[in-house]
Point group: D2
Chain length 360, copies 4
Amino acid sequence: MNNSIGNIYRLTSFGESHGPAIGGVIDGMPAGVAIDTDELQRQLDRRRPGQSDITTPRKEADRVKLLSGIFEGVTTGTSIGFIVENSDQHSSDYDNMRHLFRPSHADYTYTAKYGLRDHRGGGRSSARETIARVVAGSLARQALAPAGITISAYTSRIGDIAIDRPYSELDLSLTETNAVRCPDPEKAAAMTELVRTIRNEGDTIGGIVSCVIKGCPAGLGDPVFGKLQARLASAMLGINAAKGFDYGMGFDCAGMRGSQAADLFTTRKDDGAIHTLTNNSGGIQGGISNGMDIYFRVAFKPVATLLTEIPTVDDRGLPVTLKARGRHDPCVLPRAVPIVEAMASMVIFDTLLANRCSRI
Amino acid sequence: MNNSIGNIYRLTSFGESHGPAIGGVIDGMPAGVAIDTDELQRQLDRRRPGQSDITTPRKEADRVKLLSGIFEGVTTGTSIGFIVENSDQHSSDYDNMRHLFRPSHADYTYTAKYGLRDHRGGGRSSARETIARVVAGSLARQALAPAGITISAYTSRIGDIAIDRPYSELDLSLTETNAVRCPDPEKAAAMTELVRTIRNEGDTIGGIVSCVIKGCPAGLGDPVFGKLQARLASAMLGINAAKGFDYGMGFDCAGMRGSQAADLFTTRKDDGAIHTLTNNSGGIQGGISNGMDIYFRVAFKPVATLLTEIPTVDDRGLPVTLKARGRHDPCVLPRAVPIVEAMASMVIFDTLLANRCSRI
Amino acid sequence: MNNSIGNIYRLTSFGESHGPAIGGVIDGMPAGVAIDTDELQRQLDRRRPGQSDITTPRKEADRVKLLSGIFEGVTTGTSIGFIVENSDQHSSDYDNMRHLFRPSHADYTYTAKYGLRDHRGGGRSSARETIARVVAGSLARQALAPAGITISAYTSRIGDIAIDRPYSELDLSLTETNAVRCPDPEKAAAMTELVRTIRNEGDTIGGIVSCVIKGCPAGLGDPVFGKLQARLASAMLGINAAKGFDYGMGFDCAGMRGSQAADLFTTRKDDGAIHTLTNNSGGIQGGISNGMDIYFRVAFKPVATLLTEIPTVDDRGLPVTLKARGRHDPCVLPRAVPIVEAMASMVIFDTLLANRCSRI
Amino acid sequence: MNNSIGNIYRLTSFGESHGPAIGGVIDGMPAGVAIDTDELQRQLDRRRPGQSDITTPRKEADRVKLLSGIFEGVTTGTSIGFIVENSDQHSSDYDNMRHLFRPSHADYTYTAKYGLRDHRGGGRSSARETIARVVAGSLARQALAPAGITISAYTSRIGDIAIDRPYSELDLSLTETNAVRCPDPEKAAAMTELVRTIRNEGDTIGGIVSCVIKGCPAGLGDPVFGKLQARLASAMLGINAAKGFDYGMGFDCAGMRGSQAADLFTTRKDDGAIHTLTNNSGGIQGGISNGMDIYFRVAFKPVATLLTEIPTVDDRGLPVTLKARGRHDPCVLPRAVPIVEAMASMVIFDTLLANRCSRI
């Protein structure tokens, strides 16, 4: 259970940071989807470290090898196995961590759960694990694209710098034009400057990724435990460092009245389609998409790896001092954007397939 | 999939608001748990409408009938079937809604998905569905209690009135002493007053439920897609009207630095146990419980049913005016508290059982 | 897991023989299926004890109450809860069995697994549990019927009396014309006579049920672990007293050569459809239906309850003598026929729904 | 779903015969199992083609690469990814089959289901897919061994040559001493001779594999849909070419009386343990293991690939003549033995883990 996500379109992933490879198997991809491997690699490149001066300087090629399930460029309906080999591993950077518990990492909890752990580079808890998600998400996105469904995430806040306009007033095509992946150029510049400052101090900083899904038909999601928002929340909280999820009006709803929050229905003049005048619901009502834009946010904590000396304990409970030597991001937000998109793509595609069985 | 939750301890529920009964089947309850049916009924009574002047005046006895899986007061390891009969149904209250789509309800999306719906009382989308959750949650809680695990939710905000102290400074035993289920007596009084005012205006109001889980051992949760926070998020976003979830420092993490957020490890003087000095992690690191209190919040939107006239459309897209005649809560928060506890109980128990297989 | 079957069309059942009711929840039934409750009751009546002089004289009305998921005669896409109340229980018949282990029953293994058991009437291991299967199977069959898919099981062997012609030479409409449910009238008469003799001796007898599924389109089943024959085998071996399953040429294949076993392809003159000249494959190749009749057999052991005195041990391991006082079938075959049909109906419908996702 | 097996110990496999690799991910392996990679490779070698003159002359090294989940020789509790590279592929052998449907193969059904297929070497339907099963089964067996659970399969019949003694009278340590994996030396010699004759005729032959599981504790399996025999049947019928499964007295039960079939309980003199005098139940009662040997059989059809000219049709329905040029086994039985053991190992280990949750 623990390494799989999805019901019909299902990824099962594997791999530790300092093992031979990260990879996975995608089950449930329908036959007949044309796969663009260059586009797949582009998505992996967006996740890759070393893209700019504000991400970790680790250099990983992260070339994906597709091992099955695709024949002459088209999916065959059989499972898709893939691997991305690990490289540029500095395992010795982690020798001093074999018996230490880094604060706010998974070192202690893995040991508590399993009785042992692969301490090198965080092992399975490394962010390299998200490579498998980007592969499965990118293939899902390629299956969704012909249906006109697009998934666009962006950095909406880093530290105290936040976009102060609704997504509908942003030009989302600008997201990829800067290192922080913020579609508001002025905010992007300020965020970049902030991350540089933080990095130079050996510190890290948190933020928020927002995501908009356009073109999603009404009817996706199940009404009780498989609510679309529950599936999205589960996927998003499954990303390392994510601390919160909300959709539509989100946490702001706590201060709102029903008369403010209600999304009134109306009929579109041109084609008679029913839609809502406002979208406080974030495109989901009663757990099911209503055809409006789906909108949600994910909060990310600051990376726990600090480059300053910090006190901790070892696995005997004795006090020790830790000085991290690995190479880390001062802010995960820019690299979290493609991961949020990947997870959302998987959820939407999985739900879209499930919906084929909603009527006889 | 859509009506089941849990992997090992699994509830599958059924029932519409105006059908003969709400019920479910619990699979995976281990043998040997002593069941207190009075305590089970007490939990259902906490969820029940008509408890105070600020909840809906509907009167439902909500007596649970346990149909299997318990023999001479003890679980047998077989599945537990149960029903709660519906009563005090005013189905004719809903006749005018057969062809209407109420704003911010599930009417439109059910019709879009299934092509038809049971319109009476919201059908399957009615909050009565949560009865099954309270039954399964209460039984899980009874299984957890002997292990010293307690789950305490409370209303921490309604509208603009919010508790301004951390949970650790509250006396959670006060939660049940007032109608809004807020453990801060002054805030509780103000919240109650606010809800009365809102109700008298025919309006509704949102809020936040907070939840604390104490006594949870380290090691629960799976590190990748089955992260404990992902399971909690999925369970909480599966509750009607929930719009957001966060845990530990939650959305506040967006403005924090790593040096502020890190939970430093230390060793307890008396027993040498490793724990953290702070708990920004909310009791979960790397997706796995670390033995500290688990702390999370759930945001609830204002109830969508307004008692004023509002414009909407019918299933042909024609404009109509809606005047709700049903009996509804002006604020779901008080009744959401036991549901949040029920969902959390199920998740923790399910994860606790799964953890039995983490080591050979 | 243990009380659920099916992936998309999924039954979760509950209920002990001497508890208040047997029942279940069906999840995944698509919206829009017209339900004939008389037909549903007819299927339950076929399973019911007391139908003839060669079945148990217990009298159970076995009236099903549908509690949800159907509105104005049509499925709504929400889960279908149902119960059948228990009656005519002679619990005191079983008092002497509280501490005994009946040979070849589940008494010992339940106690070994769970540490306790409901001993009355076999508890959960009672054949009454199959009521839930017949309900879910009958609704699946009603969903399959408009697609022209029919499922016909029949008794092909009891003791040494076996039908000696292939199913294609039988008139399956004769199955319901006799008490043993055998479509060969001469064999049926001999079987009936045999069962009467066996019953009079206080003994029981085994046999074989054969099943033919007609009208199943090519393409159902998954090629690796979800092979259609694996799903059918799992469903059939999940029936009490089933000891074996084979399909197509079945166990006879062990003595065959490839040149004998091959089903050669040809093209139908009238419509050009590809089909096979023979059907040793039993309608399934590579785990996927090929459009030919699906044909399989299930072997049932003789009922373990004997009405003679037999030696056994109690739960302390001490020798005791058992004299069963319950009312039991001398031969399960006649009542197994509708259960085999029900299980097959569920498997085929589940697989048919899953197949909607095989192509983009 | 289609490429996964198991609930807690779960294999998800991938790979086509003529793609770059076969592989899989094992999820749910507990931490702390010492892994012997030489033993793992030995099991793969037992499955490998080219072991003797009566198996296919294809030469495949089939070296497994473990990619994750094992650290310093011990499982870590994280998922285990693995691949076995394909080699010695004669893809051009299959060029003439791109548009043909080979009789009794999966060519037609894959095309019917997916609209396209990888025709080279059978693609996903190739027996090479079982490599992944042997890897996962061997690791499960290594986890079971310290608990004293052994799984021994053997060829009990080929064509008309069958072992005529119960397994308890055989010396199972002789199974690996001959090419057909039959523990009865005389029968083994006759079987070998038969297979040689069949091979020289360009024909193939079917048979039966029997399997005995010793040391399995009482209590494994779930009583309703997860019966141990249902899990075994599903696993066995998921093997290519398997046509039937039975356990204990199996299909012979059809001719038996209850008084013959009952396994009487008794108490062992030395330790007071309850067991049965006979084992017609095959070690499983009420779906749950009873501590006796588990015994079952699997029937395998003759390989469908014949080396003579046979008529068939192409994908337009036109008649063509097929002359297979691939290299194939005249009899799958010898190589099926380790696969049956692998599947049984997975089922028993999965069930053993699940049983940890049967009591509080």
